[in-house]
């Protein structure tokens, strides 16, 4: 029997809650807002430690975003928390007009993004948030791939002055960035695996799938370079363009609609600087459905096997 490697798994929403708690002492202006979902978004971890700095706004996300804007205008650093569907979807216009336009120091911690929400089904599976948030001028948009990156992104968001959108997931995902030389910077991507035949640009849980696909491709003599893009905006165009120059072919992987998210951002950059064929893996203009996270990821071709199959067809 082959020895199985034990891989630690953590949901990035858990990382979010833990990071908020860990950073609270260092950032006394940090306050956390939630809309009756503290248990699910994991801001409950912060609430337990700092109850007076946790503000439950009730089930009223639009008002919550506005309150965060007012808190920020008065010097606080509010983290607004809800499911991505409600933070980026329902409250889109509030984020645009009350946070984005005045460029206030509000951080949006959106959990339960994408189809890995699972059983709740399409109404709660937000595959549009990256697209929506990218369109707001001055908004930083991040989608961490694991526990290490999620905690680093929360710190970076705190240290950055201005609006930030952070995307977290519900399901536990493998820790892939746990290495001594790991360094996080807003706007910087990372080559997590070098290769020469095809570039796979991935974000969020897509990074782990891309790495798995690269292993499978290697066995067939295909050398795939894997680029982890946590910051969708501002995008590390230089890194992506340089990789494209090396491989000549690009595949993008995201747990999001192929319209408007990472794939579109990568195409924008490549169209401008170095046009090469691009294949976008993601939700192909369809709604999700109920099912387990793992089953959905597999069905919609976002697991390692799915990415492997699509890359093979593409190259």
């Amino acid at each position: 029997m082959a020895e199985e490697k034990i891989i630690k798994k953590v949901a990035t929403r858990e990382s979010y809650g833990n990071a908020l708690k860990e950073l609270a002492e260092e950032f006394p202006d940090l306050v956390v807002l939630d809309a009756d979902l503290a248990a699910a978004t994991k801001t409950g971890i912060f609430k337990k430690a700092y109850p007076e700095r946790h503000i439950d706004c009730g089930i009223a996300e639009c008002n919550m975003v506005g309150i965060a804007a007012g808190l920020a205008a008065a010097g606080k650093i509010p983290f607004v928390s809800s499911f991505a569907m409600f933070a980026a979807g329902r409250a889109f216009e509030q984020v645009r007009n009350s946070v984005g336009y005045p460029h206030l120091n509000v951080k949006i911690g959106a959990t339960h993004a994408g189809i890995s929400v699972g059983e709740d089904g399409a109404t709660h599976q937000c595959n549009e948030d990256l697209a929506l948030m990218r369109t707001i001028p001055g908004m930083v948009v991040m989608c961490p791939s694991d526990d290490v990156e999620a905690r680093a992104a929360v710190r970076a968001a705190l240290e950055y002055e201005g609006p930030v959108y952070l995307r977290f997931g519900r399901a536990a995902v493998p820790v892939i960035n746990d290495r001594p030389d790991y360094h996080f910077e807003i706007g910087k991507g990372t080559i997590v695996r070098e290769g020469s035949d095809v570039t796979i640009v991935a974000t969020g849980i897509g990074v782990d799938s891309a790495l798995g696909a690269a292993d499978m491709l290697e066995k067939e003599g295909v050398s795939a370079e894997v680029v982890n893009i946590c910051t969708i905006k501002p995008l590390d165009e230089e890194l992506i363009v340089n990789s494209a120059k090396k491989t000549g072919k690009v595949v993008t992987v995201e747990e999001h609609s192929v319209i408007g998210g990472l794939g579109s951002a990568v195409c924008d950059a490549l169209c401008k600087h170095y046009p090469v064929p691009v294949c976008k893996i993601g939700m192909q203009d369809v709604f999700g459905e109920s099912g387990s996270a793992a089953a959905l990821i597999e069905k919609y071709g976002l697991d390692a096997k799915g990415v492997y199959r699509t890359v093979k067809e593409f190259i």
């Binding site: 009730g58 009223a60 639009c62 804007a69 205008a73 509030q94 009350s98």
Partner: protein, 279 residues
Amino acid sequence: MKNLELQKTANEVRKGIVTAVHGAKAGHPGGSLSAADMFTFLYFEEMNIDPQNPQMEERDRFVLSKGHTAPGLYAALANRGFFPVEDLPTLRHLGSYLQGHPCIHIAGVDMSSGSLGQGISAAVGMALAAKLGGRAYRTYTMLGDGELEEGQVWEAAMFAGHRKLDNLCVIVDNNNLQIDGPISEVCSPYPIDKKFEAFNFHVINIDAHDFDQIRAAFKEARETKGCPTCIIMHSLKGKGVSFMENNVDWHGKAPNDEEYAVAMADLEKIGEELEKAGE
């Protein structure tokens, strides 16, 4: 300031409103004029602000939730010395800092607003920040009566009442007219006072053009502890300009040159009467 001085100042603010909207060839004079006395009282009497130091940390905050009446806010700020009165006619012009709706980057403007229903939430956030930080500043916000049709207003009211934000004062400009007609016919928010009471506000009804009542209402609001206050001011849309008064057509339309001359003559006449009254 004595009432007569406030009345004279409010008349200058009204001239500023008409001049700004005429200069812009667009904008919202009706609801700016209905709230001109309130803008004047807030910036010349009620609020702790400093035109020389607009970002003063412990200043009182004001959010114009009914942001389309920016001409009223700008005219009050200009007359108070935040920026030159001469700049008012540049309203809405390309390159002017006087944006069509309030923008946080303008001296004296505490929040960008204009998408209805959103300003009150930001004001609630500012009041909450004061409570969390043990700070003494007060927060004021002004809403239109038509704006009360936005659901977010009631989300904000529920939160403010729940959190007992007694450092928050919500002002409703009840001129009874919105773009499509009387608010009672479009989608009635009446009874407004009962609604805010139901959300645990202390409610005060006043005449929007009576400085004694405005003064007394703010005193009562400051003395009210344990809940936010809502001042419902019953106003006349277009107040001060004869042909604009209680006429919904002037909700969002600029006067042409001839109309502008008539409007300014109306306001000059009011000014002269106020001068005589002072003699």
